[in-house]
């Protein structure tokens, strides 16, 4: 997994609330057996017309936002299906950070497993950042994960919270499975005890 530390990039505004994972990556693209290549299908049904041409006023089709690496989005981002194809598609498009007032739990977890930083901010801070993002390519936003800070184009700083474990995983690009496998003894010990207590399992 790619590490995340600092990022300065254009942020695309998506004020819609309840952006679900079916919107982020529609089901017809879930038939892949790979992780890569989903970026072109990100937000497909909002982004393309039926004939495959681009929907002009969709935010990521506008010249200012084609290279956006940050999304500033409405409440409850990533709700619905558990599909990890959603963060894979975001990542493949180039998005490394999503800012919202809240995230659905499974999506939130999936982001951390893929080097994407989901940041939760207050409704006031979100409207400020939404305004910043609406200014387009000239208004980049900077994220500093170590310091837990978002810096707006006018220099204003917003502090954000993140739990230690997820922060550590992102900063180091940790292989979580490898980490757990080091605890093999404990898992085996747990299994032994359980076999005695609940033999039906």
């Amino acid at each position: 997994m790619e590490k995340f530390n600092k990022l300065t990039a254009v942020a695309a505004p998506m004020p819609l609330v309840n952006i679900d994972t079916d919107m982020i990556i529609p089901k017809q693209y879930l038939k892949t057996i790979q992780r890569k290549g989903l970026g072109k299908n990100l937000f497909a049904e909002m982004r393309y017309n039926d004939d495959g041409t681009e929907v002009e006023d969709f935010v990521l089709n506008q010249p200012a936002y084609r290279n956006a690496e940050i999304l500033v989005a409405g409440d409850n981002f990533g709700c619905g299906s558990s599909r990890e194809h959603a963060p894979w598609a975001l990542l493949d498009f180039g998005v490394r950070c999503v800012i919202s007032t809240s995230f659905a739990d499974i999506f939130h977890n999936n982001c951390f497993r893929n080097g994407i930083l989901p940041i939760e901010v207050s409704p006031e801070d979100l409207s400020k950042l939404m305004e910043d993002a609406e200014r387009g390519a000239n208004a980049t936003i900077s994220i500093d994960l170590e310091a837990q800070e978002i810096r707006g184009p006018d220099g204003g700083v917003i502090h954000f919270e993140i739990d230690h474990f997820n922060k550590h995983c992102l900063l180091t690009g940790l292989d979580e499975i490898g980490l757990t496998m080091k605890k093999e003894d404990k898992v085996a010990e747990y299994e032994e005890t359980r076999k005695m207590q609940q033999p039906w399992l």
Partner: protein, 468 residues
């Protein structure tokens, strides 16, 4: 006696293997269900790293999302769908994981066959790369959806790195009036707390109305918990639960069964246990629900009208309502019961069980599906199909003009040949009315099986209580 604990606390405590750091724990997973859509990249990850599946015996796989519900004997024609299902079959063979093939009578939607086979038991931790894993919480097991990276983590280690969620209790008191079902309770709750209302929580359902529900009804309710934003829903196991489990193929056998029941009886929230959030609902006041928009929280009693964007105080919600009305092709103020449908879909892991099909048969027996409506019924599993046919339900459905299909996810998410065309409007017993969920441009109204049956007969959303 220590501090009183909730049911969630108890299951959590009994599965902690180790604490990694502050809030992060290694949690042991008792049962891992696997399907074709969210697992290929996980198996690939194992292969690349040279890792094995730690407990194939605690893992179980079936293909459901891509499986056609017609002429299954002829196989899958869509090459991508076929590749995904073939990949699952190859992966389960390579890693030694039990698997029900596409022609096995016991196959079906993963969340239907888990309980049906006795793979789902009280007090277990259960995961699957699918958000509706919350269904299994109906048995008092901690069950939730995970992403594909987590699927790989569980395959390799039989554990998951987790942070503990908060406790929420939803108490539903009183008796459900006739014509009102578990699905209506679910929609009423989501309408009340919103699709983000349960975020960060595990919801325990309690109260007389919940105790009175069958296992099927409890599964419907827990299934929809994810639509309220909570990863898992829980119902403390009781005699109804034990009765359901007894004798199922993977359930504990005589001898250990009694021992298991004795343990299961300890699985309930202690008196005085702390809940971060409490929600209360009076079942006796409920009316059948329908959704009008593109989020499950857009739920209203059938006696209501389509709201206007200006009815919402929040700016984001106003925008979402405007967009939803446009997508759904509805005008504010129109009566919900005036909305005409051209499709009816009965099935899915929410409402594809035998009790759901019986409820439909009761409504449609001796009646006809309106000629403007295309109506399909898709049993949740091969065994549900056989049971329904033994009871003669298929005859009632076909006589009424329904199509009777083979099991699968079907039109719940249109990854298989069953889908809506742009502009089609469907009364559906599934769980999500998101844009494009049942087919690009398709319009979904979520309802209970009885309400779907009523809509099939009249051709519009209908209060099932008015149908003689």
């Amino acid at each position: 006696m220590g501090t009183p604990r909730t049911l969630y606390d108890k299951i959590w405590d009994s599965h902690v293997v180790d604490q990694l750091e502050d809030e992060a724990y290694i949690l042991y997973i008792d049962r891992h269900l696997v399907h074709e859509v969210t697992s290929p990249q996980a198996f690939e990850g194992l292969r690349v790293a040279g890792r094995k599946v730690r407990r194939p015996d605690a893992t179980f796989a079936v293909a459901d999302h891509n499986v056609p519900t017609k002429d299954i004997e002829k196989g899958i024609t869509d090459p991508e769908s076929k590749l995904q299902v073939d990949t699952l079959e190859a992966n389960t063979a390579e890693f030694g994981i039990p698997y029900f093939s596409m022609t096995d009578d016991r196959r079906g939607i993963v969340h239907i066959i888990g309980p049906e086979q006795g793979l789902t038991l009280p007090g277990m931790t259960i995961v699957c790369g699918d958000s509706h894993t919350s269904t299994h919480g109906a048995f008092g097991s901690l069950a939730h959806g995970i992403g594909t990276s987590e699927v790989e983590h569980v395959l390799a280690t039989q554990t998951l790195v987790q942070e503990k969620a908060k406790n929420m209790r939803v108490t539903v008191s009183g008796d459900l009036p006739p014509g009102v079902t578990a699905k209506d309770i679910a929609l009423a709750i989501i309408g009340k707390i919103g699709t983000a209302g349960g975020t960060g929580h595990v919801i325990e359902y309690a109260g007389d109305a919940i105790r009175a529900l069958s296992m099927e009804g409890r599964m419907t309710l827990c299934n929809m918990t994810i639509e309220a934003g909570a990863r898992a829903g829980l119902i403390a196991p009781d005699e109804t639960t034990f009765e359901y489990i007894k004798g199922r193929p993977y359930a504990p056998k005589a001898g250990t069964y009694e021992q298991a029941v004795a343990y299961w009886k300890t699985l309930n929230s202690d008196e005085g246990a702390y809940f971060d959030t409490e929600v209360e609902l009076d079942a006796s006041e409920l009316i059948p629900y329908v959704t009008w928009g593109t989020s499950p929280e857009d739920a209203l009693p059938i006696t209501g009208s389509v709201p206007a964007p200006s009815d919402f105080a929040d700016e984001g919600k106003r925008g979402a309502a405007e967009r939803a009305l446009k997508y759904m092709g509805l005008t504010a103020g129109m009566k919900l019961s005036d909305i005409e449908v051209d499709h009816v879909f009965i099935g899915s892991c929410t409402n594809g069980r035998i009790e759901d099909l019986r409820a439909v048969a009761k409504i449609v027996e001796g009646k006809k599906v309106k000629d403007t409506v295309n109506a399909i019924i898709v049993p949740g599993s091969g065994l549900v199909k056989i049971q329904a046919e033994d009871e003669g339900l298929d005859k009632i459905f076909e006589a009424a003009g329904f199509e009777w299909r083979q099991p699968g996810c079907s039109m719940c998410l249109a990854m298989n040949p069953d889908k809506l065309a742009p502009g089609d409007r469907c009364a559906s017993t599934s769980n999500r009315n998101f844009e494009g969920r049942q087919g690009q441009g398709g319009r979904t109204h979520l309802v209970s099986p009885a309400m779907a049956a009523a809509a099939a007969v009249t051709g519009h959303l209908t209060d099932v209580r008015d149908l003689g």
